[in-house]
């Protein structure tokens, strides 16, 4: 059943075997060894730690999972985000191993580097070494350390100075039943570069189990523009622990759209640091949970430089006994005058047993800023349903329409048609009968 053929656990023996199986530059091996040492000396997060108090880790057992040492035979399918889209390149990762990679010749000729991070760490050591773990802190917690020690496969997207990539680049990550994904995604846009990256994570089937221990680093130099879309749709029994961070420099902009649909248990730390004046960030988050899913997002919009703009909007709908946690923070450093920060989380609870925790936060050290935040949690309004029923809608049609309308504000902000379509499809799939 487990696609990876080894029996190696995430322990010292497993780590040595993992290192022995790889041909990697010394600096990278040193980095892994250090991370593994840290992993061994660290504790799992305390139950009462602020980030974990709402997310009970006791059901998670690392012992159940094996190091993905070799290529698996998990079959792969087509992506949803890339449907009907002319792509500039594509990387398919299965169970933490790169299975296929392609890049348009015209882009390669312009110096675009796009492919397996594992391979490129050897082929482009300077570039990778400069950026790897420059946005994500491998010592943040035990999961980050574990990832830093064992990451494999992964993707490297490098857009050189001034190069504008019009066609989206597609990253597909597939997880087999019970498998482990340790992909590290590194995206670097040099000065004035532009790109669109579509990233989707799936499992072989909807109720598959497995473990996803990924990391995402986005580094944007001045004046670069990135649209990054991620669709997380892994199986309903998977665990996900992820660190996803972007560093955005002067006059650069990021539009980051994420849909969290999958996973049984997910804990994601997501942040954007605005480090140069005029940097702009927009985050559009959609979460739609069902069954017993537990999805926790801890988000940070960190204003380091003055005159930056951040606009984070998360919309979540919860049904059955599922639960979402959203804890957002706008942090404004002393130097970050004229900050314009906006943060919002709206929840629509569709069942009496579902739950949404929404905790917005501000930490402001500068004195000339404009920061607004808010969160709402509501149920479907029976008066709305009745109004629609009086216009001939069945109750079920009315609720579906109201739920779709709830997410519309996010759709209005998404500028990529295939992404709107894919999100629309996933939401429609999720909305069930409301008799």
């Amino acid at each position: 059943m487990t696609a990876t053929a080894t029996d190696l656990k995430f322990d010292a023996a497993g780590f040595e075997a993992f290192i022995a199986s790889r041909t990697e530059p010394d600096w990278l091996i040193a980095l892994r060894r250090e991370a593994f040492e840290h992993f061994q000396s660290m504790e799992w997060p305390a139950r009462r730690a602020e980030e974990w108090i709402r997310s009970d880790l006791r059901l998670f057992q690392l012992d159940k999972f094996r190091v993905p040492l070799t290529q698996s035979d998990t079959p792969s399918g087509e992506g949803l985000l890339s449907e009907g889209v002319e792509l500039g390149g594509r990387i398919l990762t299965v169970d933490s191993h790169c299975r296929a990679e392609s890049l348009r010749e015209s882009l390669a000729a312009q110096g675009v580097i796009f492919g397996s991070l594992e391979r490129l760490a050897s082929e482009q050591p300077e570039l990778v070494r400069e950026h790897l773990f420059s946005a994500v802190d491998p010592d943040y917690d035990r999961f980050a350390a574990l990832h830093a020690a064992f990451w494999s496969g992964g993707q490297f997207v490098y857009i050189p100075r001034g190069v504008v990539v019009a066609e989206p680049l597609h990253l597909a990550t597939l997880l087999g039943e019970g498998s482990v994904d340790l992909s590290h995604t590194l995206i670097v846009l040099e000065e004035g570069a532009e790109a669109t990256v579509l990233h989707e994570a799936n499992s072989v089937q909807r109720d598959a189990g497995g473990l996803s221990l990924g990391a995402l680093e986005i580094i944007q130099r001045p004046g670069s523009h990135l649209r990054y879309v991620s669709l997380q749709d892994q199986g309903y029994k998977t665990f996900q622990f992820a660190h996803q961070h972007a560093i955005v420099d002067r006059d650069a902009s990021i539009q980051w759209t994420l849909a969290a649909m999958g996973n049984g248990f997910a804990k994601v730390n997501q942040s954007v640091a605005l480090v140069g004046p005029g940097a702009d960030s927009q985050v559009n988050g959609v979460m739609f949970t069902e069954g017993r899913q537990h999805i926790a997002y801890h988000t940070l919009q960190h204003h380091v430089a003055p005159h930056c703009h951040s606009d984070f909007l998360y919309k979540s709908a919860q049904q059955d006994q599922s639960r979402t946690v959203w804890r957002g923070m706008i942090k404004v450093d002393k130097a970050a005058q004229k900050t314009d920060g906006y943060q919002r989380n709206d929840n629509l609870i569709l069942s009496s047993r579902a739950r949404a925790d929404s905790i917005p936060g501000l930490e402001i050290e500068a004195d000339d800023v404009r920061c607004t935040h808010g969160s709402t949690t509501a149920q479907v309004d029976e008066e709305q349903v009745f109004y629609a029923e009086c216009r001939g809608f069945t109750r079920n049609e009315a609720v579906r329409m109201i739920v779709t309308g709830f997410f519309q504000q996010i759709f209005d902000r998404i500028t990529i048609e295939s992404v709107r379509d894919a999100l629309g499809q996933t939401i429609a799939r999720q909305v069930r009968e409301y008799a």
Partner: protein, 272 residues
């Protein structure tokens, strides 16, 4: 067409608080009825009970549409059977465009047997019809792209209700204070539009109003006065004119029991 909406001895409570205490009203297709009465007398409650609002419990009496038991129908079945109400306070549905809402509504009402997921009226055909109706009502085409009642002014909401009336072409329409919130010009336009859509015997109209402007182009054959949850008096157009001119003093004095019930309801309301 000779449709009949027949309400007999209708009693309605909210929780255990009785509101309608035996309402009798028969409307024939093609007739216009005015329903008047002081605040809190039960006019909106009657409309909401006819539509099947789950918060209003029918504790007695009957509502029949062409002999069919309306009380047995779900609200959407009532709408599909041809009963419509323009709300005194329409609900906003954020994120849902007026045009999409109306296309779905119009399809369901015109094809009462439509099952969920079956095709809607073709987009182009629908757009064309909607555009015509909107221009007839002198509405900005931009309106169709706005979210249902979301951020609408009071007047815009009422005009949107009239647009829905025009699209859905019911057999019977209850217009609950469709004139409130409209400026003088808009009221005149609304009055003309309603006459155009529902007048000349196209449907049965029950116009709930505190004013006389809507009735100008829609002269009622019958005027009913509600007090304390009952229709205490029914007359012709002249009764509406009298009430508009002189208020409810005569009615309150003539029906002291109903007046007492009305006061009681208002007092309870204030106590909540």
């Amino acid at each position: 067409m000779s449709h009949v909406l027949k309400i007999e001895n209708l009693q309605v409570s909210v929780g255990d608080k009785p509101i309608l205490r035996g309402v009798n009203l028969t409307m024939n297709h093609g007739e216009t009825h005015a329903l008047m009465g002081p605040n809190g007398s039960g006019k909106s409650t009657l409309g909401l009970a006819i539509m099947g609002h789950p918060g209003y419990t029918v504790t007695g009496g009957s509502i029949l549409l062409d002999g069919e038991d309306v009380l047995e129908m779900a609200p959407n079945e009532r709408a599909r059977a041809g009963i419509f109400m323009a709300f005194q306070r329409p609900m906003a549905i954020p994120g849902v465009k007026m045009a999409d809402f109306l296309r779905h509504a119009t399809t369901n009402v015109r094809r009462p047997d439509r099952k969920e997921g079956e095709d809607l009226i073709p987009m182009r055909e629908f757009r064309k019809e909607l555009k015509e109706k909107m221009s007839h009502l002198r509405m900005d085409p931009e309106f169709a792209r706005r979210y249902v009642n979301d951020g609408f002014s009071g007047g815009e909401m009422k005009r949107a209700e009239i647009l829905q009336l025009a699209m859905l072409q019911p057999k019977f329409a209850i217009l609950d204070e469709t004139d409130s919130g409209l400026d003088a010009d808009a009221v005149r336009l609304a009055s003309e539009s309603i006459a155009d859509i529902g007048g000349r015997e196209k449907m049965g109209l029950l116009i709930i109003t505190h004013h006389d402007k809507l009735l100008e182009h829609n002269p009622p054959q019958y005027t009913h006065v509600m007090l304390g949850g009952r229709i205490v008096e029914t007359g012709g157009k002249d009764l509406a004119e009298e009430l508009h001119r002189s208020g409810y003093d005569r009615i309150r004095k003539a029906y002291p029991d109903a007046e007492a019930a009305n006061q009681e309801m208002i007092a309870e309301e204030a106590a909540v």
